[in-house]
Amino acid sequence: MDEEVKLLGAWASSFSYRVVWALKLKGIKYDYEEEDLVNKSEALLRNNPIHKKIPVLVHAGKPVAESMVILEYIEEVWPQTPLLPQDPHQRALARFWIKFGEDKSAEFFKLFQTVGEEQERATEEARELLKILEARALEGRKFFNGHKIGLTDIAFGWIACWLDVLEEAVGVKLLDADSLPKLQAWIENFREDPVIKENLPNRDKLLAYYNYRREMFIEAATSRID
């Protein structure tokens, strides 16, 4: 259990940060290795041959890939500061919302990578996801998990910290604080958590990176139209 823990991650990735948050919340020591996603290391390719993606957790030499699979593994191996409820039905609900987020978040990638009608459709879908979370997932709780941060909150952490940067880079408003007050309150609570606060990417750096990527996508999309 105390054997070496290594995280292969990328500074701009919200998926990477999910694992950082879980490790930090549980006080687990680990080595972090920044991966260059344009020039993937031999270690990354060896540890995640199927998807070749970060994050990958390597524990005692054994790799675990896929951020939510990693989180379930961490929860099991290091039970302190539990991130899932004990009750099986509550756990099923937590996993339901995590899956909902995973399935629908593709729309956010889409709206970032496209223009015109395709982007408009993705934007509508993205707004739907946020509305559903507002209407059904928080139920008057401080966090999705209850009064303390849990896996569901970590899974949706990108909404608290990457979404507004995405909005700015693309020039579209997705989260209207007035019509989504519960989600807005959750964002503020999440960002104020002492562990989360200490472990966020630099916003200016992230915005610059997103702006650069957005320009690339626009160029690719518009050159296809021509």
Binding site: P49, I50, H59, K62, V64, A65, E66, M68, V69, I70, E72, Y73, E76, V77, P88, H89, R91, A92, L93, R95, F96, K99, F100, I132, R136
Partner: protein, 222 residues
């Protein structure tokens, strides 16, 4: 013990994933066939977000999404475990359950479409089959993904064992060429021969006829 109800539809593979888990663990349940063209108040109430089957209702508690239902069943009824007890092996299993859940729907693309879109779907299927054949742990050495006994990964890949063949029959498109994926072929054979699975598969010809009609009406409506 609280009553267990399963809201499903014949011949949905997602429905069957849950049936297999319940049967493998010997859990008594009431099956309630749903009409998806006229959704019941019980279904809408139990799965308001997606309005889809399967839904497991245990006592007062509804659980939606087949792989989440499988995990719930595993936690609530630990007999005849479907996941390994070792945390690392469990993580590997979870990885493959996720892979199966995300990629099996590609066979549906071959079914629902024709022309270019169907070709795209076929390409996705082949990539999936290649990945499984090359990387899935235990395949070829053990009888099942789960080892000597059926586990959650096997159930997750269930659509490939039976429904992929039906779709090939309906569309005339060969997704899994004989001899190209020997380890996967062996797994399919082992899976379908398991006594519990064998007893709980929708009859091939009936499924074929049903899916043929579905495909005709899908293509006609385009």
């Amino acid at each position: 013990m609280d009553e267990v109800k399963l809201l499903g539809t014949w011949p949905s593979p997602y429905s069957y994933r849950v049936i297999w888990a319940l049967k493998l663990k010997g859990i008594p349940y009431e099956y309630i066939e749903q009409d998806l063209s006229n959704k019941s108040p019980l279904l809408l109430q139990s799965n308001p977000v997606h309005k889809k089957i399967p839904v497991l209702i245990h006592g007062e508690n509804p659980i939606a999404e087949s792989v989440i239902i499988l995990q719930y069943i595993e936690e609530k009824w630990p007999q005849n475990p479907l996941l390994p007890s070792d945390p690392y092996e469990k993580a590997v299993a979870r990885f493959w359950v996720k892979f199966a859940d995300e990629n099996c729907p590609s066979i549906g693309k071959v079914f629902r479409f024709s022309g270019e879109e169907q070709e795209k779907g076929l390409k996705e299927c082949l990539e999936m089959l290649e990945t499984i054949e090359e990387h899935a742990p235990g395949l070829g050495e053990k009888k099942f993904f789960g080892g000597d006994k059926i586990g959650m990964v096997d159930l997750a890949f269930g659509p490939l064992a039976h429904w992929m063949g039906v779709i090939e029959g309906v569309t005339g498109v060969k997704i899994m060429e004989a001899g190209k994926f020997p380890r996967l072929e062996t797994w399919i054979k082992n899976f379908k021969e398991d006594p519990v699975i064998k007893e709980n598969l929708p009859e091939f010809q009936d499924t074929l006829a049903f899916m043929k009609r579905r495909r005709e009406s899908l293509l006609a409506s385009k």
